[in-house]
């Protein structure tokens, strides 16, 4: 069974190493401050006792007040999983750090989020539209797009 890792323990641990990085945690997921997302991701991947080497899905949810980015990571070695979330509140020009340098699995998925939600990923090697064509107006998966 893929075990969802204990979120309060990992929150405590991460806040010790990177103070203020984890804002809150709920069942199986942690909410990470956007500024420290890249550092946290690198730590989660490289820490030998966590070894989150496998990123499954990346997606965004539009809650109108903010966008929530959701990352689900799995360790193939220990067979445990964790959901990492982060929020960006700027609607006009939302940005987030790209996790493609950490897990290449994010490459297409971040391009898709950029295409459909308009969130710019800083540090993505090739950020352009994926499904819609260049020149398409708007980002259809936003809740206020008709």
């Amino acid at each position: 069974m893929t075990v969802a890792i204990n979120e309060t323990e990992i929150e405590k641990k991460l806040n010790e190493i990177f103070p203020g990085s984890v804002i809150s945690s709920e069942k199986g997921s942690i909410l990470v401050d956007k500024g420290s997302l890249l550092k946290v991701a690198e730590y989660l991947k490289n820490a030998p006792e966590l070894a989150f080497d496998y990123l499954t899905f990346v997606t965004a949810v539009d809650y109108l007040d903010y966008f929530e980015l959701v990352y689900r990571i799995v360790s193939l070695k220990y067979n445990h999983s964790l959901i990492v979330k982060t929020r960006c509140s700027d609607r006009e020009n939302p940005t987030a750090p790209s996790l493609t340098p950490v897990w290449r699995a994010a490459y297409y998925q971040e391009r898709e989020i950029y295409d459909l939600f308009g969130i710019r990923f800083e540090g993505h090697p090739e950020l352009k539209r994926l499904l819609l064509w260049e020149g398409f107006k708007g980002h259809p998966l936003r809740r206020d797009y008709l």
């Binding site: 297409y108 539209r129 809740r143």
Partner: protein, 368 residues
């Protein structure tokens, strides 16, 4: 004086028989050698994730058929499981067994198509495909018997199945499963040691284990690279913990291993169906008591399965209404084609076609 050369671009697709749909590759070539390839997708984008936000949970099942249209049953299963997880619905025993039987037979059908068209790309024009098609036809007959459809079954429902199987189904399924191992032996006889297949596929398009994990590959592509990771074993959903089966893994991660893993998985699927047919209760409800309009509590759920092509997941966010607030589809083949660039570099154009074929893509799923 050296001759000045420069790489040039070749456009393959979107309308090209070897792209298995509307897939476009912008290939940078140095003579006949591939320097780089840029996949261009989106030609079949229908906006399923957006459409789903305006329809009820039950109405969305028909969209899932149209993702990977060669394995509609498993798509139905993944979506229904995600909604059941969100709403806390328990599926009756007989329905769970029927779901497993259909999912595994669907896997056989999907792998038959994958292997058949892989050989087609390799130059064995239509002959192996016709053998595979012969057995797939029997599977389609079985599915037609239960759902009335041959491609887009729309058979599973949230909490179970749309209807019980007809009386003539079980004997027909038993007959098919009893016959199938002989046919797989026949394919092996024709293909496994075929000199042309070995020459064209062995050592071609190697995907190293570390790269496979890094790009998040799943399904036969990941297992061919030597990673023992199958969600049916690692996180047994439904009732997969009751069956005895093995995870075949490849050694080198080349095109031949991806072919080989699929053939072995067909054998394992037959084993699972044999066991399920023995254990299934003869009677019983096939659907839980589910209201007409399902209103899952506020929250989110991620349901995922080992689909024929890899890890298929549905991430659903509910706001307590009759329609999902957000439905995200995590398609295995979109992630698997991330590896295409790494696998084709340095190979010839003809190899590019078979490396792409060995990933086994269905564009309905990539573009959604």
């Amino acid at each position: 004086m050296p001759i000045k050369t420069e790489p040039f671009y070749l456009n393959i697709g979107p309308q090209h028989p070897s792209t298995h749909g509307v897939f476009r590759m912008r290939v940078m070539l140095d003579g006949e050698v591939v320097v780089d390839v840029e996949p261009v997708i989106g030609y079949l984008h229908r906006g399923i994730e957006k459409l789903a936000e305006g329809r009820t949970y039950t109405q969305n099942i028909i969209f899932t058929d149209r993702l990977d249209y060669l394995s509609s049953m498993t798509n139905n299963l993944a979506y229904c499981m995600a909604v059941e997880k969100l709403a806390g619905i328990k599926v009756p025993e007989r329905a769970e067994y029927l779901r497993v039987i259909f999912a595994e037979v669907m896997r056989i059908s999907s792998h038959l198509m994958a292997v058949g068209f892989f050989l087609n790309d390799l130059g064995a024009m239509m002959t192996p495909v016709l053998y595979m098609w012969r057995e797939r036809e029997k599977i389609l007959d079985l599915f037609e018997m239960v759902s009335g459809q041959r491609l887009l079954y729309n058979y599973m429902r949230i909490g179970g199945l749309s209807q019980d199987v007809p009386a003539e189904f079980m004997p027909a399924m038993k007959k098919f499963i009893a016959e199938m191992p002989r046919y797989v032996d026949e394919y092996d006889q024709l293909l496994a040691t075929n000199e042309i297949l070995l020459a064209r596929a062995k050592g071609v398009g190697i995907l190293p284990r570390e790269t496979a994990i890094d790009i998040g590959a799943s399904g036969p592509v990941l297992r061919a690279s030597g990673v023992k990771w199958d969600i049916r074993k690692m996180n047994p959903y439904s009732i997969y913990d009751r069956f005895d089966f093995e995870i075949p893994i490849g050694q080198n991660g080349d095109c031949y291993d991806r072919y080989w893993v699929r053939m072995q998985e067909i054998r394992q699927s037959i084993r699972i169906v044999e066991q399920a047919l023995k254990q299934i209760p003869d009677t019983g409800p096939i659907r839980a008591d589910v209201p007409l309009y399902i209103r899952p509590p506020k929250g989110e759920a991620y349901g995922y399965i080992e689909a024929p092509k890899g890890n298929l997941g549905f991430y659903i966010v509910s706001d307590g209404s009759i329609a999902p607030y957000r439905l995200h589809i995590y398609p295995p083949t979109l992630i698997n084609i991330t590896a295409l660039r790494d696998m084709v570099k340095g190979w010839k154009v003809a190899d590019l076609i078979i490396i792409f074929g060995s990933i086994d893509v269905v564009l309905g799923e990539i573009d959604r």
